[in-house]
Amino acid sequence: MQILESFTLAAPREKVWDLLFDIPRLSQCVPGIESVEVLDEKTYRGKLVVRVGPIKTRFSGIVTLTEVVPPSRFASTVEGDDKGNASAVKIFFNGTLTTVEAGTEAAFQVEVNLRGRLAQFGDPVIKATAKKLTAEFAKNLRAQLEHSFP
């Protein structure tokens, strides 16, 4: 399933890029993140909690950066699972930053492959959840960026 989302941030592209690759600051912006550990410059291990209604799922996984072109484009893969509910996810992530009049447009295209029991909820639920998390992520990024431009 493919998800396309974008949002605009009122900051120059370089500033946004720096924030995205400043792992401690970035992890404060990702909704539901519990931990991030840097394994090497291209590999990270993390834990993320996602809630949908009564269901709380805790994914542990590895993020691998597959392409990094500062300050405009990056790609990564994410592989994670939640053993509790026997579900696994594989994500191919492509993000771009474009300079626009209002600042920077962040756009991403994500291919999500969800397997296991969680997959029964189907694409509409996953898309709606992605939308909600993106909106929260954008809000948190904005707050972080404002913080750095007092």
Binding site: G84, R117, P124
Partner: protein, 286 residues
Amino acid sequence: MSIHFLEPADISAATALLAEYGDEAKIIAGGTSVVLMLRQKLIAPSVLVSLGSLIGWDFIRLDSDGLHIGALTRLGDAERSPVLSQVCPALAQAFSLVGNVRVRNQATLGGNLSAADYAADPPAMLMALDARLRLIGPDTAREIPLSEFFLGFYTTVLEPTEIISEIIIPPLPESARAAYLRYTSASAVGRPCVAVGAVADFDTDGKCQDLRIAVGAAVETPQRLARAEALASAQTLSDELVAAIAEEYAQTLDPLSDVRGSAWYRREMIRVLVKRALMEVRDRHR
């Protein structure tokens, strides 16, 4: 891992337990939804707060301010209630289509609404009936319209410590008519692909005074469209007007795609079902 099964004796004890255990607790009423999630390990609460021992919350009562249904009323009992069928046969119809007879004899109306599953029958009909919900928390009690209850997939405005206590359906004028239609794409007993609840009131000249149409199951949360409903105001429901209102619903709503139908297919079926529901409230009992 073991689960503590707690059976509070009254609703305030139940909300107090929810406050005490917080995230660790889940409510269980009829269990038709919670048990499935437990079995699949989608939820892993350490405490289940059962509402099974609460007494007095499974009533169906007609008062001057409308029909009151206790949240612990089983869907099967509601479906077979003479009072409910007298007030609104279309609502009894909507209840009678949920799952199967075993599910309906176990599932409660409060549970059905709290689960907020989009592919459900009761919400669309109840929303067209302008239903209201009474919610009870540890120190709070509030009443909200059902139209403000659902926030998204499986998500409602219920606070973690709140419980629905009753559902209130305002009185319908004698001249009002209601209809519930659903379309199932997979099998006749499956969950709905599209659900439509319609309520219309007519004056003595047959002109429509009040029209309410809610579409569910095809969208994330049941939707009414005030603009489309207003088209019928003080009008005779001609075939052209019926088609125009159905078109408005089909074009405005943003249907979802799932195993029961694509967005395109649902849009087509919304048009068909809204039209049929309108014709039913127009032509029946004439």
